[in-house]
Symmetry: C2
Subunit: 438 residues, 2 copies
């Protein structure tokens, strides 16, 4: 029997995480299914950032590097992130962007491999990885004369040969929401002597991650998605302590990664541990907002933490799939995210295939973009990711952040989707105009 709206209300009433939603400032009339792209504002961030601006900067001025604790924010916030990804205190710093951090760890991983396994010339990744990961890898391989080998996901296992120096993967795919088994993949790679670099952009705060148990080598991740750190919030970086102990520099060897930054010595001496992965000064105002975002996720710790968030996330996504497949049947939407719980993160992607009920939209595309725009106009915010014109199709993408998304939200979102499809409302010309960013 299909779940009803009343059932959803009951699920919300019984939800042990329900109170966590009170932490957030959600606009009226919005159902937000895009926390995988930009998390919602934690209400505390408004005061926290205002304090950073008017008191810490305005009144404290330069003294606030000490008195307001600006100096150790990368480590202090890093310790909060560590609790969400199975890392120990002192193993994570919040800093720079995901792309910049990826450059640091991928460089280091390749440098270590060049010492330990100098005959290996291949950096392996998957073709569907997030583009910036592939670009950073491409640039590094070009620089070092290595080969970047991109394979389709099913062939990763077979590609783990003794030619490969480093395997770089994103844990949860940005487009499809498919999730790798981090522990199994890392173990397979290690048996072949391959180092593993994981991008947790769509995992941190979304699914349980245990870098220590997986014995991963390097990881980076994003502050502004499920960690609710605000637009362009600083990212993070983790390195297994067995590698920070190595005598290898990360190449962005700026003064913040120096053992004694304020000694102002002319020669570089790397700080012990993860601090050597810092480079320059961090944007304190944006870091302050990230601090609130991290607290909003850590607020779930007394209620079961990431395991409890994961249970709710799976219940929400299972419900969304069920309702789309029953209430929106016949409109050509097809789930591309794996159904298996262990194989997906906290987001879902659907393609739209030829519909028996409606003519093809203007321009002959799949209609996925216009459907997303029509939903946004109704206050249901998901997003669109373009296909590559070939094997990878355009998708409608919906993220479910269990901190602030409820079961009735899911019901209402699907009801809007049903109306958009049944009325043909999405075929209006205004929904087909593509803006710069989607």
């Amino acid at each position: 029997m299909t779940t009803t709206q009343q059932d959803c209300r009951t699920l919300d009433a019984q939800d042990p995480l329900r109170e966590l939603r009170q932490q957030f400032s959600l606009p009226d009339g919005v159902i937000y299914l895009d926390g995988n792209s930009l998390g919602v504002l934690p209400a505390s961030a408004a005061d926290r950032v205002a304090k950073a601006v008017t008191q810490e900067w305005g009144q404290g001025l330069i003294r606030s590097w000490n008195s307001a604790g600006w100096f150790d924010m990368p480590q202090r916030l890093g310790n909060k992130i560590a609790q969400l990804i199975g890392a120990a205190p002192g193993e994570v710093v919040a800093t720079d962007s995901t792309s910049v951090n990826l450059f640091k760890v991928l460089s280091t991983a390749l440098s270590i491999a060049a010492i330990d396994t100098p005959e290996r010339q291949v950096l392996l990744s998957e073709r569907s990885n997030f583009p910036t990961d592939l670009y950073i890898a491409e640039a590094l391989c070009k620089e070092r004369g290595l080969t970047l080998l991109l394979v389709d996901t099913p062939y990763i296992q077979a590609a783990l040969t003794t030619d490969v120096a480093v395997l770089m993967l994103t844990h949860v795919n940005y487009r499809t929401g498919a999730m790798h088994d981090m522990q199994a993949v890392t173990a397979s790679a290690h048996t072949k002597g391959i180092l593993c670099v994981w991008d947790l952009a769509h995992s941190a705060g979304a699914v349980p991650v245990d870098l220590t148990a997986a014995q991963a080598d390097f990881a980076v991740g994003c502050g502004y998605k499920y960690l609710n750190g605000g637009p362009g919030a600083p990212a993070f970086v983790w390195v297994n302590p067995r590698h920070t102990a190595r005598d290898v520099w990360q190449p962005l060897a700026g003064w913040w990664g120096h053992a004694a930054p304020f000694a102002f010595t002319p020669d570089y001496q790397a700080a012990p541990g993860i601090s050597r992965y810092l480079c320059g000064s961090q944007p304190v105002l944006s870091m302050s907002a990230l601090d609130c975002g991290l607290d909003s996720v850590l607020a779930a710790q007394p209620l079961g933490g990431m395991q409890a968030l994961r249970r709710k996330s799976l219940a929400l996504t299972d419900l969304f799939i069920e309702l789309v497949e029953t209430r929106c049947a016949g409109h050509g939407l097809r789930l591309v995210t794996p159904r298996e719980h262990a194989q997906r993160g906290s987001q879902l992607a659907f393609t739209r295939e030829q519909s028996p009920h409606a003519p093809p939209p203007r321009g002959g595309d799949s209609g996925a973009y216009a459907i997303v725009q029509a939903l946004v106009a109704r206050g249901v915010i998901g997003d669109f990711r373009a296909g590559d014109g070939g094997a990878i199709a355009d998708v409608l993408r919906f993220g479910f952040t269990p901190l602030y998304v409820g079961f009735e939200d899911v019901w209402n979102a699907v009801e809007h989707l049903r109306r958009v499809l049944e009325s043909g409302e999405w075929q209006r010309p205004e929904f087909h105009h593509k803006s710069t960013v989607t």
Copy 2:
């Protein structure tokens, strides 16, 4: 005849830039001579950042990438910075940290040199350059098997040989305030076929800079000093258009530097022009504050712009030197900044040498640190930079930002300094305790 306090009041009353101070929120009772380290809060930033948090992020959410103009902030802010450094619109982006940007341009400069002058194996800089510049250079030279040659400032000219691929200098020295003649040095280097990378951290917004007239090759600079962008504000990068046209990647080739970032293609294609020097997402909240900081400097444009700011800066620093040398005579303070206008920026440094009037302080150091602390306790905020224990001595450092520092401020600051020295107040134990950051 020595300038009197009344003379200073008259100078303030006649100052054509006096009104610009109204833009800033300065704490009561503070004379701020540290704008070379962290600029003062522009009053507009409180509302601007609050709007970015509550409206753009809170209400607009992901839609604000388009509707609030987040997407083109690096270019829009870059165009404002361009007006202050003699660059054309479209030639500058605000992004990342100075250290990260230096890595991008230094890598590119070395890559271009490797094509054009492959026999050259030396990266030249000066020993007294800001440490992070030297660390980034050291890491890159290590990576590429090049030699980092550090010389003392008087020997730079002689070191410009045909062995040198790239010359990297900071325009205004962070410690001494000494300024290079950018145009002359660049011209000398170019006659030897050497590319020039300039760090404008202590120049942008402080002294007139004309990168185009100097025909410089690459430049980076800081957003949080004289540009008043807030703690850890994003930095900027400029590349001469003759180099952005070259088929050379900067190695931090992230998606924001891609020609079509939202096409999500697996292979990297560099954006045209300076946009290829972007890497990942930028911290929007901190960028919003930087936007206000840039406006606070551009507010001087109708009043004569950087030339007018420079005139006032030189008048302020001349006055400070005169008053210290007359009113604080006999206490061992010695100016290390060049007196010649053309050879200094907008900051002054003094060492303290053995005083005939006072015993050496506890610990046997120069006392510079304790004097700075005693001044801070009186609300006169300058800072201290440690020497290297050898040729480079400890200094008291004072920055003069003519947007908000007045002539009577200078008089009062020196009066506090006189009292600190004459009373021996700086020898109190509490002023000798060194905190992590100074």
